[in-house]
Structure formats: C-alpha cells, structure tokens
C-alpha cells in the first residue's frame, strides 16, 4: 500500500519534471512579451483610482496652511494629525460611526432576509397570479426614488415615532428590496427543483427547506445583495438627513456635511474625516469581494 503510493508520487513527480520544461519552452515567449497598449490602458485606469486616493491620504495629514496652498500632490510636511483630531471631535466620530454601522447592519440584514423570503415565495408560486403581480409590484418600487416621496415619508415617520435610525433602516430596506428581489429571483430559478424535492422526501418543512437548503445555496447572491445594500446604506446622505430628527442619532455622512461650505475650505479636516468614514467600507469590501466575484461568475455560467 505504502509502496504503491510512493511509487505513484514518484511517478507523478517524474511526469511533472518531464513536462514542465516542455511547457515553458512553448509558452515562454508569450510570458515575456508585454502587451503595451493594454498595459498602458490598465495603468491609466489604476492611476485614476490611485491618484485621488493618494491626494486624500496625503491631504489628511497636512496642516491647515499646507492644505490650501494649491499643491494637492505635495507630500505632507510637517506631518500633522490635526485634521484627524478635529474631524473626530467635530463629527463626534464614535457615535456617528456607531449610528452608521447600526443603520447599515440593520439594512443589510433586513434586505437579505426579506428579499430572500419574498423571492423564494414568488419563484415557487410563479404560476399563481397574486405572487406574479406582487413581483411586479415590488419591481415597481425601482421607479420611485426617495426624493419623490420624501415629504410624506418625513410626516409618516414623524407620526409613527420612526424619526430615528430604525425608520431609516425600514425605509432603506424598502428601497433596496426591489433590486434585491430581482437578483434573488433570477438566481433562484437556476436552482433545480429536484434538490428541493429530495429535501421534501426526507421530510423537511418549507421553513426547513428554505433555511437548510435554499438560503445556503443563495449565499453568493446574498453576498452581492448585501454589498449593494451596504454601499447604499453606508453612503446614503439624503434619507438619514431628512428622517432622523435627533441630531445625536445622525449618521456619519450627514455629520460630515458640516465640512462642505461655500465660504471656507478645510481640506485636511474633511479628507481626514472621509478617510475614517471610508475605512469600514474598504474593510467590508476586502472581506466580501471573494463572494461577489463568485456570485458573478456562478450566475454567468449557469445563465
């Protein structure tokens, strides 16, 4: 037994050593040759992202005098943390970030769960008119942007005592629902009915089928939906600014609005603040991009 495996390993290594030079010889020129036009385009694309990022970072560490001197690309000298300190206190950063996090987490969770529920129900009952029409009804919400319904929403949330982050979570979820249902239903259609039938045969209820089978299978699409909801809720300015009435419960983007005035420039404070606000989004992206990519490619192959 052992001898056999070692033999096999030896054998395979032998094969490898035999084939590798062969491959290299054949493909070596292809590796060496650089596709200059494509590289140039890609470098330019990278620069459009990196350059503003560099300015943001370097600006954040500048002093007030250096921040307005008209040389955006200069290196910060002297190195100053003043911008961060001011931004931290002016926006009351810990509270603002906590509120943004609360609103974002709430929106992401509610969107994924509710949209998955709705999509599952709709796809599995597509032949019934009620479910088909409710799908169109949900999609219809895509045509209604928030500013159009802002006024009644403000009044409604005010009367129902929802003029706080919970109201924002509720509304943001609602606005995010139509697009998410669209994504989920498309994905759900690609999951074979036989899988579900086998679960039924094993005695699973609808609830169990959903949680144990369908929801895990939806994971890549849930990641995509979650990321869209995250970006929307984390960056949204208008809805929290109009719905949340207590300034102490306001989210970060609204607090940062303070830095945008007509008459004064505080680049170092603003950029420091933006950097701090960007950090969670970047971190979230780093952790979840794997799933987004997986979701995209999976959908592409199945489709």
């Amino acid at each position: 037994m052992t001898k056999q495996t070692t033999l096999a390993i030896e054998d395979s290594s032998h094969v490898e050593t035999a084939t590798v030079p062969n491959i290299r010889r054949r493909s070596a020129p292809a590796i060496e040759r650089v596709n200059w036009p494509a590289t140039t385009v890609l470098v330019l694309c990278a620069v459009t992202v990196l350059l503003p990022l560099y300015v943001t970072v370097s600006m954040a560490f500048k002093t007030q005098g250096q921040a307005v001197d008209g040389n955006a690309f200069s290196f910060p000298a002297p190195f100053s943390l003043d911008g961060f300190i001011q931004a931290w206190t002016l926006t009351n950063f810990p509270v603002g970030a906590a509120m943004s996090l609360l609103v974002t987490a709430g929106t992401v969770l509610a969107t994924i769960v509710l949209a998955a529920f709705a999509s599952y129900a709709i796809v599995r009952n597509w032949e019934r008119r009620l479910f088909r029409y409710s799908f169109f009804y949900l999609l219809g919400a895509m045509f209604i942007p928030f500013p159009v319904v802002a006024l009644p929403q403000i009044q409604l949330t005010g009367r129902l005592g929802l003029d706080n982050p919970f109201g924002v979570i509720l509304l943001a979820t609602m606005f995010q629902l139509s697009f998410s249902v669209l994504l989920f239903t498309a994905f759900l259609r690609s999951i074979p009915m036989e899988l579900e039938e086998s679960a039924r045969i094993d005695g699973a209820t609808t609830w169990q089928t959903f949680w144990k089978l369908i929801f895990p299978l939806l994971a890549p699409m849930s990641a995509t939906v979650g990321i869209f909801a995250f970006l929307y809720a984390w960056n949204d300015f208008m809805m929290p600014s109009l719905i949340i009435s207590d300034p102490a419960l306001q989210t970060l983007p609204v607090r940062q609005n303070l830095f945008q005035t007509q008459f004064s420039n505080n680049y170092h404070v603003s950029f420091a603040s933006y950097l701090m606000a960007m950090a969670p989004a970047i971190v979230a992206y780093l952790f979840t991009q794997r799933w987004v990519m997986a979701g995209v490619t999976q959908g592409a192959v199945k489709g």
Binding site: I154, G158, M238, S241, P247, A248, L258, N265
Partner: protein, 424 residues
Amino acid sequence: MESVKATRKKRMAAMGLGLALLAGLLSGCTGEPGKETIRFTFSKREAIGFMTKLVADYNASQDKTQVVLDTSGVDVVSASFVRGNPPDIALANYNMETSRFVQRGALSDLSGTQAASRVREDLQPLMDQYGSYPGRTSALPYSVMASSVIYNKEIFAAHNIAVPKTWSEMIAACEALKAAGVTPFYATWKDDWTIAQGWFDYSVGGQVDTIDFFKKLAAEGTEVGPESSVSFQKDFNQPVEKMLTLAKNYVNKDAASRAYGDGNLAFSQGKAAMYLQGPWAFSEIAKTAPDLKLGTFPLPMTEDPKDLRVRVNVDLAAWIPEASKHKDAARNFLEYLYRPEVIDAYNKSQLGFTPTKDSANVPDPRIEGMVEYYEKSQVYQGPSVLVPRTIPIMNYTQAIVFGASPASTLRTLDADWARLAFRQ
C-alpha cells in the same frame, strides 16, 4: 432536532441582546434630568467652536435649561418643520429659504422680547425685504455681514494709490496698477456665486436702489418686461456694462478657470491688488498669509462719493418656531444670546457687525473701511439674493462675464421674473 432548537434559542438570545443594546443607546440620548432641554440649531461651520463654548457657559450658568447644540444643517431643519418638531431656537442665515417659514407663519412673534427692542430699526427694511408675517416680528438680526472690495494695503501703498471714491478714480487706479504690472482684480469665475455676490451685486447695488427696485418689481409682477416701469433690462443694463468694463480689462488672465479657493490663495500671495469678496474670505486668506495688511472699501460706481454703499446681508438671524414646546426657555436663551458682551464677542470673532443699538464693538482693521457706511446705513442687500432661487441668476451673471450679451440675458431675467409671478 436538538441542535435546531439550540440554534434557535441562540438566535433569539442574540436578537434580544441586540434590541436591549439599541434601547440603551437610544435612551442614553435624552437630556439631563430635572432640566428643560431645548434644541438650538446653528450650522455656521467657522463659528461652531465659539458657539459650543457659549452654550456650555450658558448651561453652567443656570440650572433650569439645558441647551443642546444642533449643527446638522438647513435640510434637517426644513424636514423637522414638516414633521412638526422644529428646533426650539435657531440662529441661521436669513435668506429666501428662511423667509418661507416667516411668510407661512411658522415662526413665533419676538416683538415682546428685550432683544427685539435693542435691534437697530433702520435694519428692519433688510429683514422685511424677504417678506414678513402680519403683526409679527418673526426673526431678529444677530450678525450682519458687510462686504465690499477687499484690497491689499501693501500693494496700494507701494504704487501710491489712494482708495478710489468715484468711478473715474477707480478706472485710474486700475490703469495705474496695470501699468505697473499688477493685476488689479483677482477674479474667480469658475464659481458662479463669486460673480453674483461680488461683481454683479457690487456693480448693481452701487447704483440702483435695490429696496425700491425690488418693491416696484414685485408690484409689476407679471407685467415685468420692456414696457414696465422697472425691469432688469432697463435698470440693470448700465451697471452691468460697467461691471463688464472692469471684468474685461482688469482681471487675471485665467479668471475663468479659477475657483474661490484658488482666489484666496492667489490673493494672499499678493497676485492682485483687489478682490471682490465678503469678510468670510479674510479667515481663508489668513490661513496662508496671517499678517497680510488688508482693507475694504465700497466699489464706486458713480461720480458722486455720496453714492458709496456697502453690500450687507443678515448672516445670522434668531428665530423661535411657533411649534416649539419650550418657547419660554428658548426666549430666555435668546436674551442671553443678545447680551451686549455675548453678541459683540460673537460678531468680533466672525468679522461681522452687531445689529443692536448699544453695540460697543471695536471693528477689526480689515473691515474698518466699511464702518462709516454701515453706521450711516448706506447699505443695500445684494440683488442676486433677492431673486428667488428658482431663477438661476448666478448662472446668468456667469454667462455675462463669459461673453453672453448682457441685454439679452437681462431680458431673459425679466421673462423669468414675469413667469414666476404668473405661477404664484
């Protein structure tokens, strides 16, 4: 089966914990016990430090009211009026936006307050120009900003140029500067508001009686046009032509691509002798040149020095909404805000003018040049701010300096005004 139960229990526990945390967070945000809490809206970025300290002082000085400073801005205030829980007191820029609250009677009457009796009466027309509510003093001016030409005293002295008092002296000064290789004006036309606020308003306000003009214009309403007694095309044409004389001959070459921020930097580096900006630019210029000697003078548009006037705007006005549930506490705080030492200290810190009769403010040397005009109320409100926001006057003025025909642009302005009057 057991594992399912366990996870469900765990899930419920997590949910409960989350809710408890949130409840704690929310309840932690109500004010101190035993004190009446009032919300005070103030969102002038540059002065937030000052106001934070002032509010803290007030809260420490008495134990009845707790003032909470709200810096979240104008949109939030409008939404709170819709919702029916507006701030209890506000110090905010007085403009067309605020005037909507005034005209609809959303602000309470302040005429009975001590503060109201101390406000200079000759400033009332400036407040009324935005509209009023019958029988009420809806808002009180708190800080008045006067603006005119900012000039670099060092450059003027180096070329032996005196402050011009008439239009021909102005042209002569510009010619002298130009001959000496100095750019007379630094213009920042990329930002359209700098044209409307400075170039357009100073030129028109220096010649046209804006209060009278807009009163007549409102009376004409839908009739405004070539045949009406007053119109933009008739009354503004000549001032705008004069503005173009300055704008075409005496500005930096790259004016069209320069923004406000660039202008502050260039002016602080002595790249031009004059700058058409308000006092808010001083603190920006000081960021790069804290010791530069600057002064101000009204832009002369006629041959009579008596016509000299400065542009003013009510930078901050105090108001208490009708829907506030803590009006008395808010009024007490209002009186505190209007205490001579408080209001003077505020205006000193922001280079503003105090609108009370008993003000003892020693003006900053940078705005000294405007004091005599302000004291004698030789002031006007910028025509650009008196045009409703629906009419894009800033873009129109920008089009004019970029080469559009002034006559046809002013005709468009007339037509817009008449159309708006027709709709209302």
